[in-house]
Symmetry: C2
Amino acid sequence: MKSPSLSDDGTPVEPKYSETALRILEAAERLFVELGLEATSLRLITQQAGVNLAAVNYHFRSKAALFEAVFARRFEPWARECLRELGRLEARASAGTARFDAEAVMMCYVRPALALSKDPARGGALFVRLFSRVLVENHRVLRETLSRDWGHLVTRYSEALGRALPGLSAEEVAWRLHLGFSVMFHAFAGNDILKLFGRSAVSARDPDLIVKHVVPFVLAGMGAVPRAGSSAQ
Amino acid sequence: MKSPSLSDDGTPVEPKYSETALRILEAAERLFVELGLEATSLRLITQQAGVNLAAVNYHFRSKAALFEAVFARRFEPWARECLRELGRLEARASAGTARFDAEAVMMCYVRPALALSKDPARGGALFVRLFSRVLVENHRVLRETLSRDWGHLVTRYSEALGRALPGLSAEEVAWRLHLGFSVMFHAFAGNDILKLFGRSAVSARDPDLIVKHVVPFVLAGMGAVPRAGSSAQ
DNA sequence: GTACGTTTAAAACAGACGTTTGAGACGCTG
DNA sequence: CAGCGTCTCAAACGTCTGTTTTAAACGTAC
């Protein structure tokens, strides 16, 4: 997942994929989400994509490289949208047309996540699930790439939340960022622990419904007063 | 994962494992967490356990059955402790010696999770991570078993939270249960999305520290006032 | 028309996988 | 000591894996 080159107007140039490569990407994305990286064979991918087996190694060097391509195709546009949101918030706060509070920072994540979840053309909710697989499966290569090329994304959110919650220690801000993003991330990914027991009463697949419930929850959590005796007071 | 038989005094009888079977269970637990089910080969497990390859199929019928045994060995004692906690809370609330509020219900989950995380003899934090892999990998067999044998565990928590938050609609209670347990579960499992970017400032591996920060966060979220216009008001 | 780079096709590669086999070792009971 | 169930061991089974190879088809430029 190397950083894509930029065209003259600064918008990223998406690598051009051939018809065959695109069919592979789409079948692979669906199967990686449903079965995981290891359990998905190239033969199953090419069969569902209706292409030849060797096409994978021709268009994408290897299975691992295919996985990275699948991930990068969805992740990079989304991450850039998050950065744009943060930039817009800072600009409007400087201009005095917006409050720089926890809700505003949170919405810089919620809006891109919601837009992504509702847009099948960009992978929709499927990619968010793939992302959560990456998280728990802890792919080494992808972790290195995310850390190297996109670590500043987290840094930006961290600084923004610190500015939105003045008076809190850096440690306390880090924890609220951690917990807040955990809920939101897993809520959008549909990782419902209660559903595993077949007893979840929420239909956690509707993105708008997720936002409606997760936003007040996280806002309340982020604004929580630290417990008495907390070292992070 | 069939329900274990009960001895005369009602305490569950843990299946007796031979020395070899135990070595397999322990090596498998560690490797399943680190590599996942598919990526962990029986040859690697038996090699690290210092036993013969065929011992796995002798002691545990198949690889899938081994995985279920690994999971059940840790899960069942923990789930029973959760049920005991809920029972104790109900008893003390009836006796008037305890308040039946959201915090009390939440602690019925936090205490067992904390105790488990700090006890290496019961799998410690390792098992919680394994559990979270089960969640996103969505193993069919395990899901069926959890739903059939342990669905009532979730029902109990759900009823308890509904009782602790009177005046809220069932849908609203379900969402707060879902979101609250999501944070707690993934916090204990150490599924830190920020860490994936190498920029997490929290050392989310210390169970006591997790509790200290996650409890106020979740309590605030669960007590959050629903947004205006919410259908779940 | 012919040469060329690009893409597809079928087949084969070596290796790893989960599982099974059959023989032998061990510890008990009579 | 003999008999027997429990367990271990090395070897092999057939299947599936990611990858490579070889040949053929395609569109385009000379």
